[in-house]
Every structure is written in C-alpha cells, then in structure tokens.
C-alpha cells in the first residue's frame, strides 16, 4: 500500500510532468506541472498574447483555455460603448487575441459573462482534482471543489498558453480545521476573516491550505468558495476543500460538467480525492467556529480584523514594533481612534459584490436581511452580481426587487468596486462596508476607507447607516 497522502499531494502528484528544465540542461528544482484549465481575463493577458505573437508561438491547448471580461467593465448600461478609451482598448485586445488564438471568450454580450472566479464554477468548468490557473490571485476560489487552483503572473500566463504547463516548486501543506458550527448571522466570510486575523496575512505563505472540520462540511459550495477565495489574503498559494455530496450536487447538470456515463466515471475518480487517514500536514491550525462572531476589518490589511463587538485597537496592542508602525499608519488612513467601538461607525457607501461574495446564495442571504427595510438616508448602496447568470437567477427569484425597493442600486456583473478599475470608486475619505476581499489603502478608490464584512453585515450597515451586529436581525 502506498503511503497516506493529503488531498493536495494527490492532485499535485497526478499533474507532475517532470523536473523543470531537465530537457534544457538546467539544474533541477521546481517541477513542470500540467494545467487542466487556464482562465484568462482582460487585464493580465494582453502582454502574454503579445509575447506569443512576437515569438511566433501558438496556444498549445486552446480548448483548455477560457476567457472573459470582468475587471474593468462598466456595471452600468451595457448597450453604451465603454466610455473609458483605454479600458475599451483592453477589452478589444482580448476579443482580438481570443479570436486569433482560438480561445473561447465570454464577452460583454454573453449570457455567461461574469467575474472569472464566479463563472468557472457555475459553468461546470471547475471540477475536483483539476489544476487551474489564472492571472489573478483569487484563483484560489476554485479550490473549493478539491481542485488545486492558484494565481499566476503575466509571464506565467504566457508560459501556460504556450506549454499548458507551469513551473512550480512544491508548496508545504497546512490544515485549517474549523470545528463546531457557527451561530446564525456568522458566515463563511467571518470564518475566513477570523483565520486571517489569527495567522496574519503572511501566515500561510508557501503553503497550500486544506480546510477541514464540521463547519466546512456544513457550508454550501458558495460558502466554501468564499473561504478558499480569501486563502490568498492569508498568504497561501491555494486553498482546497475535499469534494463531497455537496460538491457533486452543485456540479451535476452544469453546462460544461460531464454528463451521462462520463459523469459516473468522473464521480468514481473523485471519490478518492480526500486526505488519507494518517497523512501529515506541515502545519495545522484549529479554530472553534462556534466561538467566531461577525468580523469587520478596521485597518488597511485583511489581517487587521476584529469582531463587531470589539473596539478599534491601539498601536500599543500591536504584537511587534513593525506592526505598531503599520497599526499607526492604518488608523491614520482609516481616520479611527483607538478605543472607538466598531459598532456604530458611520458608513457612506455599501458594496455588495466581488468574487468573494456575489454568488446567488450571497445575494439570497443579503436579500433576506434587506427585505422590507430601507437603506439609510445619505448612504449609497450597490449590489453587483458576480455574473450574468447570478443576475438572471436573482431576477427570477425577485431578489432585484427586494434590493431596489430597499434603495440599493442593482447593477451589471463585473469586479466593480472590488478594485475600482471602472467608474465604481469611493471618493476620498468615504467609508464603505464592503463584501470584497481587500481593504488596502486606495483599493476601492484613492483615499477611500474599506471595512470588509459579510453580505448580511453589509446590508445591516446599509440599513442602519453604520456598522452594526447583524445578529440582532437574526432573532
């Protein structure tokens, strides 16, 4: 019998082509890893396609490559031409590149367009046991299906296009076990923020995390994607969750998922995709999910997180000298004073969207809180569905009406104010409750102040005009 292996090791081992550089007389080190699915978007791909063109190279496996436009597209009226000339050029470049190199593109007019990490899973492209890469750090999202999925740079995008392989050194493994079940009002987003607070934004650098435990098993696929999505915010190369009945139920019948006999075969192959008893991780973290409350970030890094019932910390509380300086800088940028209760901080804007929290289940949970309530005066709140499919589904369920009746804007899919490459940006000094993943300085607009929260916390903040504990709404 072979030695017990982790889920990560099984997927990794089955994709190793060989030592990188062995055929080119280079010293051994990293390996060449075969890529099953390569997702492409408009911002990190133009230079890669241009590189291929200049070198006279082709895309080795165009049928394993799928492109969409999401990062810089407008979430307003899609019948209008893209107003920003340079954004329009970038989108046009992807259209041209996809055509020239034979890559399938879900463009602005497609009913399947959306944020790349939302459409991969919902089209059934993302499947257990795969290796998936994309020129985007939140590719870790796809690990929720038991795939090994990670972000790469543009030179690597070009490398994968040309060779269908990626040069990778073997990461270490970390198990993050969430035992117990979270209380009502505490979501997948809160679990992962609590983890990042615990281990820090570099806590999992060089590691692939596998999430295990009762709380993870109890999550829907959407919730699992939220958790894996933010693995990168803990510094991890990737996050993974072993596939189970929840995974199969999500995948069955999706547009690109295997069907019929192929589905049965795939199910059989996926059955072995779990960590064997006795397999060892390089590191283990244990969190009691039952003890986690709703989280809100107070600073300019996702690790600067506290529970909504806590107060803004003081630089004196920082664990080290370097952190003290970061705390100081973050508090200045966020215009917060130590000791101020987080609950009650006034917000100007609310953003419900991004590849972290703009799937149908996120919108359902958020709409449940928004139903029959009104966005507070002076607050601008927007909902940006993760994809056209999410948007259409939400409209079929009447969620759009719930949101618009409450005073939310209902917009078209894209990354939007997660990174503010389009017109959806915070003004200087504006404070925002956001369901996205990064609260970096200026991320949502120069001078904008971001508080990361779950979708239900975001709606509660919109309704009250300030950060509040959504658990009060759950009773």
């Amino acid at each position: 019998m072979s030695a017990p292996r982790t889920l990560f090791e099984k997927v990794w081992d089955s994709h190793v082509v060989g030592d990188a550089g062995a055929g080119g007389g280079c010293p051994a080190g990293p390996v060449l890893l075969y890529v099953d699915l390569h997702l492409v978007h408009e911002v990190t791909s133009p230079q890669a396609f241009e590189g291929l063109r200049l070198a006279g190279r082709r895309v080795r496996r165009p049928e394993l490559t799928v492109a969409t436009v999401d990062h810089n597209v407008s979430t307003g009226d899609r019948r209008l031409p893209i107003a920003d000339r340079i954004s329009a050029l970038q989108v046009a470049a992807l259209v041209r590149n996809a055509r020239e190199f034979g890559v399938e593109l879900f463009d602005l007019d497609s009913p399947d367009q959306g944020i790349v990490h939302v459409i991969g899973p919902e089209l059934g492209l993302t499947r257990p046991g795969m290796t998936i890469v994309c020129g985007d750090s939140h590719t870790s999202t796809h690990g929720a299906f038991g795939a090994l999925a990670f972000g790469i740079g543009t030179s690597e995008v070009e490398h994968v296009l040309a060779t269908q392989c990626i040069v990778q050194s073997r990461p270490r493994t970390m198990e993050v076990r969430f035992s117990g079940l979270p209380a009502p009002g505490v979501t997948a987003k809160d679990l992962v923020l609590a983890l990042i607070r615990r281990i820090g934004t570099a806590g999992a650098t060089g590691h692939v995390i596998e999430y295990t435990g009762e709380a993870i098993r109890a999550l829907s696929m959407e919730g699992r994607m939220t958790v894996c999505n933010m693995s990168i915010e803990a510094g991890a190369r990737a996050g993974m969750i072993a596939p189970d009945a929840v995974t199969l139920a999500y995948l069955e019948g999706r547009m690109r998922a295997p069907a019929g006999a192929a589905w049965e075969r795939a199910r059989g192959a996926w059955a072995g995709l779990h960590t064997d008893p006795g397999a060892a991780f390089d590191a283990t973290v244990h969190i009691d999910a039952a003890a986690v409350g709703p989280q809100v970030t107070w600073g300019t890094s996702p690790g600067m997180t506290a529970e909504i019932t806590e107060r803004v910390p003081s630089p004196a509380d920082a664990p080290s000298d370097a952190d003290r300086q970061s705390y100081q800088r973050a508090l200045e940028y966020m215009d917060l004073r130590p000791g101020t209760p987080l609950e009650g901080l006034k917000v100007d804007r609310v953003f419900l969207g991004s590849c972290t929290n703009a799937r149908i289940e996120d919108l359902r949970a958020a709409a449940e809180v928004a139903r029959g309530r009104k966005v507070a005066g002076g607050v601008r709140a927007m909902v940006v569905p993760g994809s056209q499919r999410v948007k259409a589904q939400a409209e079929r369920e009447g969620l759009d009406r719930i949101f618009t009746d409450a005073g939310f804007e209902w917009r078209n899919p894209g990354c939007s104010m997660c990174l503010g490459m389009n017109d959806d940006v915070l003004g200087p000094g504006e404070r925002c409750a956001s369901t996205s993943n990064r609260n970096f300085e200026g991320r949502q607009g120069k001078g904008g102040r971001t508080h990361l929260v779950s979708p239900v916390m975001a709606v509660a903040a919109a309704v009250e005009g300030r950060l509040v504990d959504v658990r009060a709404y759950m009773r």
Partner: protein, 204 residues
Amino acid sequence: MQPFSEHSGRAAALRRANVDTDQIIPKQFLKRIERTGFGPSLFHDWRYRSDGTPNPDFELNRPEAAGATILIAGANFGCGSSREHAPWALADYGFRAIIAPSYADIFFGNCCQNGLLPVVLAPLQVEELFDRAAAAAGWYRLTVDLVHRRVRDGQGFDAGFEMDDYRREMLLQGLDEIGRTLLDESRIAAFERGRALAAEQVSA
C-alpha cells in the same frame, strides 16, 4: 529577460511591512497593454500629492534615494494581487534588486521572471541594513552578488542569501523560460497521451 549576475548601486529604504501590489502600482495604471512605461506610476498614491506634485515625505522622493537601484523593504513585500505590473513598474523605475525579510509567493515569482532579483535576508539583517542606510544619511551603496549569493556594503556588512539553483540559473543567463520548457515538448506530449490512455481504460 535581462540577465542578473552582480549589481552595485544606491540603496533606498522603504521601512514598511506588508507593502501590497495595489500600492506598488495602483489599478488605474493597469489598463496599458504593454509591459513598459509603468515606472512613472510606481507607488503613485504615496509618491505624488493630489495636485500631482511629488510628495517630499515619501521615502523614494528623498534626496538620498535619488537614482537608487536597490530597494530595502519590510516583510511580506508584494502581497495582494498577482499583477506583474508591480515588478514591471519597479524595474521600469530602475530597480534591479529588492532586499526584504519575506515576499508574497506570486510577487516573488513575478520578479524572477523579469530579472528583478528578490533577495531574502533575515529580519535582523534587514533591520541592520535599514539602520546602516539611515546612518549613512545620503549615500548608501550595496552590492548584490547572485553568483555567490551574497549582499555586501563594503563596510562590514556581508550576508549570504538563498536562491534555488533553477531560478539562479534562469536569472544568471537571462533565459527565456518558455523556450526552455518547449525543449521538453516530448515529455509534455507523452504526459498528455498517458492521461488520455488512462481515461480510456477507466471507461472501457
């Protein structure tokens, strides 16, 4: 890729931890479809005041940082997005090497792809470099030697660093990694055939 073997130059100190790629190159500059021209936008929101004039308080705008080609930075440098625009901007600005206690994984790889050498030293060694740069008050020079994997200042600081043999070779020779991988085409093709065969056997 520009090869890197040994480089001597002025060092600039950016004593901040967790500098993210959104700071290194803010998103409004990601719309270009070229690899060049990002230097003027490097650290844009820190470097310029809202009226577009240079912010004199920002570390790289101080006189002692003028013309710097080596950046000393805090831990977890380059965290956040996978945007290769970050190393493109650093290289376009003129940096040839970075020295920090740690980097985010994707950023580290992206630097190596662009001949921008990411050197990892121990936190205390980086602190010492910050102190020495501050004490030099105006002119601090370092030599980064990839051949022997060492950093020296010619005034007593001499520290070794690690860089795996594969990446070191790539950087020393300025190799085109795609060209190199394509030399392995037969192995890739064999891997693909093997998997197709395995799939058929399962279905038989």
